[in-house]
C-alpha cells in the first residue's frame, strides 16, 4: 500500500519535473492515455468490489489500454480522422459505467451493513 502511494508520488513529481517538450499534436495522445489509465483504474476498483479482480487482467489492461488509446489517437491524427474521439467516447462511457457500478455496490454494501447492524439490536 505504502509502496503504491510512494510510486504515485514519485510518478507525479517525475511528471512535473520532466521538461521534455513534445509537439502539441501529441498532447492528444497523452490525454487519451490519461483517460485510459483512469478507466482501467476504476475498472480495477469495480472488479475488486465485484470479487472478480485479477492482477494480470488489471495490469495488462492498464498498459494495453493506454497504448491502444494512444495508438488510436496517433492513427487518427495521421489519417485526418478524429479517432481520439472514439477513444474518449469509449473510455468516457466506461468510466461513467464503472463509477456508477462502484457507487451502487458501495451503496448496497452500506445499506446491507446498516441492515445487519440494525437487526441484531
Amino acid at each position: 500500500m505504502w509502496l503504491s502511494i510512494l510510486g504515485l508520488i514519485l510518478g507525479i513529481s517525475l511528471g512535473l519535473l520532466t521538461d521534455i517538450q513534445i509537439p502539441p499534436e501529441y498532447a492528444n495522445y497523452l490525454s487519451i492515455a490519461v483517460l485510459a489509465s483512469l478507466d482501467t483504474l476504476f475498472g480495477g476498483i469495480r472488479a475488486h468490489l465485484q470479487q472478480v479482480y485479477d492482477d494480470k487482467v488489471f495490469v495488462s489492461g492498464f498498459f494495453f489500454n493506454i497504448i491502444l488509446a494512444a495508438g488510436l489517437a496517433f492513427l487518427g491524427v495521421h489519417l485526418g480522422v478524429d479517432l481520439y474521439l472514439a477513444a474518449i467516447f469509449a473510455f468516457g462511457v466506461r468510466l461513467f459505467q464503472n463509477i456508477a457500478v462502484i457507487r451502487r455496490i458501495i451503496l448496497a454494501k452500506w445499506a446491507e451493513k446498516k441492515h445487519v447492524s440494525e437487526t441484531p439490536s
Binding site: S4, L8, A27, L30
Partner: protein, 246 residues
C-alpha cells in the same frame, strides 16, 4: 486472491510484495502520465499566451516605436524646412545687402568725387577760357575779359550735363567752393588765378562737349562776350584731391 491468502501463508507475503510492486508501478505510470499531461497543458497554455500575447505586444511596441520615429522624422523635416527657409532668407538679405553695398559704394564714390577728397583720373572735357583780343574800339575792357560769371556758366553747364569732378586751373571745385571776381583775376577758394582759365571736367566728354555746344548755349554766349573758348574732348584728365596743396 482470498483463496491464495487462505491457502499458503509463506507465499502470501511474497505475493503481496510483488502485488504492491506492480501496483506501485501502475500508480507511477498513472501519476507520471497525469502530471506530465497537466504540466504539458499548462506549458501549452503559456506558450499559446506567449505566442499570442507577447508577440502582439511586441508588435504593438514596435509599431508604437515606428509611429514615434515617424513623428520625430516629421518634426525634423519641418525643422529642416524652417531652417532652409531661414537660410534662404539670410541669403536673400545678403544678396540684398550686397546689392545695397554696391549701390552704397557707387554712391559713396560719386559723393567722393563731388567732395573731391580723392584724386581722380578719367576722360573728360577741357575748356579753356581766354580773354578776347584787345579791341581798341571798345573802351571798356570788361567787354572782352573773362568774368567769374563766365566761369560759373561753364561750371554749371558742365555739372548739369553730368560732370563728376571739375577743376579750375588744377584746383578742384567742391560743393562749398567759391569763385569771386577780384579785379582782373578771379579767386577760387582763396587762390587767385589770372586768365586763361582751364576748366577740366571728368565725365562723358561727348555729352559735356555737346551740351557746351548747344545752339544759344554756353559756348555761344561766351563767344558773344568775345571770349576765346577752346575745348579739348576725350582727354585723360588727372585731378588732385581737394586737400592737396598746389
Amino acid at each position: 486472491m482470498k483463496k491464495q491468502n487462505n491457502q499458503k501463508k509463506p507465499e502470501n507475503k511474497r505475493y503481496r510484495f510483488s502485488k504492491s510492486i506492480v501496483f506501485s508501478l501502475v500508480f507511477l505510470v498513472l501519476g507520471f502520465i497525469m502530471a506530465y499531461s497537466y504540466s504539458l497543458s499548462q506549458a501549452k497554455q503559456e506558450a499559446s499566451e506567449f505566442t499570442g500575447g507577447a508577440f502582439s505586444q511586441e508588435e504593438e511596441r514596435v509599431r508604437e516605436e515606428l509611429i514615434e520615429q515617424q513623428e520625430r522624422n516629421k518634426e525634423l523635416r519641418a525643422e529642416i524646412e524652417e531652417k532652409q527657409k531661414s537660410v534662404q532668407q539670410f541669403e536673400q538679405s545678403f544678396a540684398d545687402g550686397e546689392e545695397h553695398f554696391a549701390d552704397y559704394a557707387e554712391e559713396a564714390e560719386a559723393l567722393r568725387l563731388y567732395l573731391g577728397v580723392l584724386p581722380v583720373e578719367g576722360n573728360g572735357l577741357k575748356v579753356t577760357l581766354q580773354d578776347g583780343e584787345y579791341n581798341s574800339d571798345s573802351a571798356n575792357p570788361n567787354d572782352y575779359i573773362v568774368h567769374e560769371s563766365h566761369v560759373f556758366q561753364v561750371i554749371n553747364e558742365l555739372y548739369i550735363s553730368g560732370a563728376e569732378a571739375i577743376a579750375i586751373n588744377g584746383q578742384r571745385i567742391h560743393a562749398n567752393s567759391y569763385i569771386v571776381c577780384t579785379g582782373p583775376v578771379i579767386t577760387v577758394d582763396g587762390v587767385q588765378y589770372p586768365a586763361p582759365f582751364t576748366i577740366e571736367a571728368i565725365g562723358e566728354s561727348d555729352a559735356l562737349e555737346s551740351s557746351m555746344k548747344l545752339a544759344g548755349g554756353v559756348m555761344d554766349q561766351l563767344v558773344n562776350d568775345n571770349i576765346i573758348v577752346t575745348m579739348d574732348a576725350g582727354q585723360k584728365i588727372t585731378m588732385p584731391a581737394l586737400l592737396t596743396e598746389s
